[in-house]
């Protein structure tokens, strides 16, 4: 913590204040006590410069005393106050005695005024120090709180990001294992797709926002792999308007939705099922709709909707709005829509 009177323009205020006090001091001596100009100036400067110097360094005493209990701090300041005011008075008096012919009556008359003024300056300065210190502490607290909030948000976002489902990985590896038996070409193709898919999801752990083309490329990899696993049980249609292709969206936000659609459309169904993805740009908002058919006679197993909840929570954290994710369900259609605000090109 720097000395508050050294920060920015504060040093000038500090000096100006003491110049004003010294001037007032001179004026009072000249007006009420009719002292000579020389004596008035010497008296004022000797007392006020000393006082300004000592009170300036008193900041460190205030900082130190913040570690003490209130009672000790109070004793500390009372003793400190008496010492500083006393020291200034006696040193200033000693100096005046050396160079000016002053009477003891002069000293005695001015003593209570000076001591009183000294204690007054001292009190004001200590109070200012305390206020400054309180302000500094508050700033520090606000800073550390906002740092903490940012860290929490980041951790939360990281947690919500898509994680590759181990079930998917091991089943895909098993499919590859089967393909190596008599379709080595296809096995190789699937290994390449799986590696590209994994590379994308690992890479995008670090970044928050990507574009739709990249995201769709990755979704296609994923769907291709699932197609190898499930064959013609999976029917996918995509309808992407050209102006939507360059739109921004959170990385890997579509992946869990696709996974959900496949999970309830394909994994849980004995018939073939349809998945439909529509993306279009309207009024600066990217609209995405993912629609899948499902068998209404089935009762979903546990674990339903965690992926969906994570997506909605993530959207809320990134865009600070909770109306961007919507889910509709009717007899045999499940529809998720996302509205992704496009930040004007920065």
């Amino acid at each position: 913590m720097d000395h508050p009177f050294l920060l920015n323009a504060n040093r000038y205020y500090f000096i100006t204040m003491w110049v004003a006090i010294s001037a007032a001091h001179i004026f009072l001596l000249r007006y009420f006590f009719e002292t000579s100009m020389d004596l008035a100036v010497a008296d004022s400067l000797s007392f006020n410069i000393l006082f300004a110097g000592l009170s300036f360094s008193y900041w460190f005493a205030v900082r130190f005393s913040s570690n003490l209990s209130p009672t000790f701090a109070m004793i500390n300041h009372i003793v400190g106050g008496i010492f500083i005011v006393g020291l200034c008075f006696f040193l200033s008096n000693y100096f005046l005695n050396q160079y000016f012919n002053i009477t003891s009556e002069y000293t005695a008359t001015l003593m209570p005024v000076k001591l009183f003024a000294g204690l007054f300056y001292y009190t004001v300065i200590v109070l200012i120090y305390y206020m400054v210190k309180y302000y500094f502490d508050l700033q520090e607290k606000i800073n550390s709180e906002s740092r903490l909030a940012a860290a929490v948000k980041e951790a939360e976002l990281n947690m919500l990001k898509f994680q590759i489902n181990p079930h998917f990985i091991f089943n895909s590896l098993n499919s590859i294992s089967a393909l190596t038996l008599n379709k080595p070409e296809k096995a190789r193709d699937m290994i390449l797709k799986l590696s590209d898919f994994m590379r994308y999801s690992v890479k995008n752990k670090q970044e928050e926002i990507g574009n739709l083309t990249e995201e769709l490329k990755n979704i296609m990899l994923y769907l291709d792999i699932e197609k190898v696993r499930f064959g013609d049980k999976l029917d996918i249609q995509m309808d992407i308007s050209p102006d939507a292709e360059t739109c921004q969206l959170p990385n890997m936000i579509l992946q869990p939705l696709m996974e959900n659609a496949i999970k309830y459309g394909v994994y849980e169904s004995t018939e073939s099922s349809m998945i439909n993805l529509i993306a279009k740009l309207a009024d600066g908002i990217l609209h995405i709709e993912i629609k899948n058919s499902f068998d209404s006679s089935g009762v979903p197993a546990k674990g339903q909707g965690i992926g969906l909840k994570n997506v909605s929570h993530r959207m809320q954290l990134i865009y600070d709005r909770d109306d961007l994710t919507n889910v509709y369900r009717n007899e045999n259609l499940f529809i998720v829509t996302l509205k992704i605000p496009q930040i004007p090109s920065a």
């Binding site: 089943n171 089967a178 190898v228």
Partner: protein
């Protein structure tokens, strides 16, 4: 000769199993099924010696499938990743294969199965298989009536009544008979939604309309369907602490 059925929803996974079985001339594959419904039918019809069973499948899981079978054959589970399931069947199945697996590992499992089939020991591990489902609360119950399979959403259950070795599940205006114990249901149904109010009854809390005094030491639970269910002294205490009255 060992008669085998393969149940897996992925064509390539079935292909892999068949490839591994080709080397074993003493094995004959009598059916290949791509879902649990067909699996139940095939097992009931053919009574195989051994079944290779996947766990995650459409409609009903491998575990739920086993609940529906009268005479359970030897089972080798084949699964990709199922940390809870592995724990559950480690004790009870002949073996389990984690996909992908090697031919050696496959042979090992098959040899274990041979030994079990030869000794023909009707040990109780088979019986325990019925209860080796995934851990965690139940979300649905699978019931077979003749050749028909129903999946009951537990949210639609009104109450459950004990009937010897069976339970009668009253759900959605229908009754289903299922071989299961009250203890098992009490432990696995979500404890905030169901309460065992009597030795022979479990009711859904959401179905409760009111509770009336019956005799000095017992009460009656009146459901929204106006059915009356006996409440024991112990059950009344449980209801009071759960509903806070």
């Amino acid at each position: 000769m060992i008669r085998v059925i393969i149940i897996d929803d992925e064509p390539l996974a079935r292909e892999m199993l068949m490839f591994n079985l080709e080397l074993h001339k003493e094995v004959i594959i009598i059916a290949e099924c791509e879902n649990g419904f067909d699996g139940v039918k095939a097992i009931q019809e053919h009574s195989p010696d051994l079944v290779f069973l996947d766990i995650q499948m459409p409609k009903i899981t491998g575990f739920e499938m086993l609940e529906l079978i009268d005479k359970i054959p030897e089972i080798i589970f084949c699964t990709a990743y199922d940390q809870f399931a592995i724990k559950a069947f480690e004790k009870n199945a002949v073996d389990y294969l984690l996909k992908p697996y090697s031919q050696e590992r496959f042979n090992e499992a098959l040899i274990k199965a041979y030994e079990r089939i030869k000794s023909n020991s009707d040990n109780n591990s088979i019986a325990r298989l019925k209860e080796s489902r995934e851990l965690g609360p139940l979300t649905r119950i699978v019931v077979r009536t003749g050749s028909k399979i129903d999946i009951i959403d537990i949210e639609k259950i009104v109450y459950i009544e004990a009937a010897d070795d069976y339970v009668t599940i009253h759900s959605d205006g229908r009754k289903f008979l299922k071989q299961m114990t009250m203890k098992y249901l009490e432990d696995h149904l979500p404890s905030r939604e169901f309460i065992r109010c009597h030795r022979s009854y479990i009711i859904a809390i959401g179905q409760l309309k009111k509770i009336e005094q019956f005799e000095k030491d017992s009460h009656l639970a009146i459901l929204h369907s106006d059915e009356k269910i006996p409440v024991s002294r112990l059950g009344y205490g449980k209801l009071r602490s759960l509903l806070d009255f």
